[in-house]
Symmetry: D2
Subunit: 143 residues, 4 copies
Amino acid sequence: MNSKNALLSASAIVEVPFQDCDPMQVVWHGNYARYLEEGRRALLKKIDYDYLEMQASGYVWPIVDMRLKYIESATFSQTIRIDAYLKEYESRMKIDYVISDATSTNVLTKAYTIQVAVDLQTKEMQFETPNVFRKRLMQCLEE
Amino acid sequence: MNSKNALLSASAIVEVPFQDCDPMQVVWHGNYARYLEEGRRALLKKIDYDYLEMQASGYVWPIVDMRLKYIESATFSQTIRIDAYLKEYESRMKIDYVISDATSTNVLTKAYTIQVAVDLQTKEMQFETPNVFRKRLMQCLEE
Amino acid sequence: MNSKNALLSASAIVEVPFQDCDPMQVVWHGNYARYLEEGRRALLKKIDYDYLEMQASGYVWPIVDMRLKYIESATFSQTIRIDAYLKEYESRMKIDYVISDATSTNVLTKAYTIQVAVDLQTKEMQFETPNVFRKRLMQCLEE
Amino acid sequence: MNSKNALLSASAIVEVPFQDCDPMQVVWHGNYARYLEEGRRALLKKIDYDYLEMQASGYVWPIVDMRLKYIESATFSQTIRIDAYLKEYESRMKIDYVISDATSTNVLTKAYTIQVAVDLQTKEMQFETPNVFRKRLMQCLEE
């Protein structure tokens, strides 16, 4: 769950909405998955391979593993920054995340998600990343 | 938004989860749509016409109008009861809801939703309720 | 639920997140309350009277009535615009909303919310808008 | 993330709601945190130490670590069972979870959460579990 040796990174900014916060006045721990989704969206957009592109290419990429370590709580109205780092792509897609206060850069949460490609027709899990993803990633890295 | 002249009714019980509550220590107003969904699910189950049955019958029933009047706040851990009343079905499905404290029966929220049938193939909105729904409702009312 | 005779307006932009969409491939109707919250936040920020300011001033403003009319469905990745219009403030705060496609300006949803001030100490509902809100609104309108 | 050597266990049943499912027709991965909450609630109720009791006793117990391994997807209307197992309590509270199909008992998801006690007055993290929790747990285990 760190930024070292990342192949690619992207970031998103979120202003914490009221309804994401719980009676303890902080973001409910389960809602951070929403913020990871924003970071992942920014990363996949860079590769030009968002969920709609994935489906069009014949694959879905379900999350098979997610871990979150909560260091400091985010609160209502706080502007947070989600940095997403592509760490693995050859057999599965592993993304590391760092969520921090957008102003102070204090780290609030660290996380990772692991996704695998599933063929939409055969429903079979792929043990190697489909060529479509490799190509787009290579194009993106060359630019 | 009342129980009078309902053709059919059903109810569901929900114990308010922590994450549905906001920093004001009450259920965030937008989360009541989740509770209406529970009441509607119980009602449609009675008619043997849940969302999966709807799709299998060739229709979806999007909500086109929803109104909620908030009288008293629900809080974490409170056991609430959602009563759903079928009020119209001939050209559209109108359901009224009363959410109350399961113990004291104090009314917390009143609401309604209006749904219309859309043909899955033609994507056209139906101005009369499809026969499949009428038949199931009649069967249910006869029993 | 329209923009006519609004005292003040503000807008917010949202790119529809994946998790707000349901198995029908459209935003689940209950999730639009999240988008209204973004429009309302932009409006209250203009008046310099967000939820934290409200609390500091001794009041909370629960929503007592909300209505949504769904015209067209929003879908994953669509960029939507939420326009919020302040329509009443003297005895209660009524806000009208128009949610539209940010590019085509096609209207997707119309809505309103009504909020009333509640004194944090006495827990009593206020039948006149507290002076703190009037003053901030007047300052904002003069600018 | 297993049931072995658990000090105490409890279970909850959830019928997967429509709005928890995403355009891939399965529960969005982030929504499983809602189901863990139901399992945890059942477990803490057994110890007579829910969130309200925690606060009354002078502590909050934020989640500092959460991991989920997704094996099979849950779908709309499926009845799932969440088993929660108390695995550690001396310096922190570690709970393991197994989410399975309530009928077939097929395992869908495995997870754990780690919580630590924070003193509400001093805001200090506790490195030993407060006596109030130990006492309630012991009472529960003796029964």
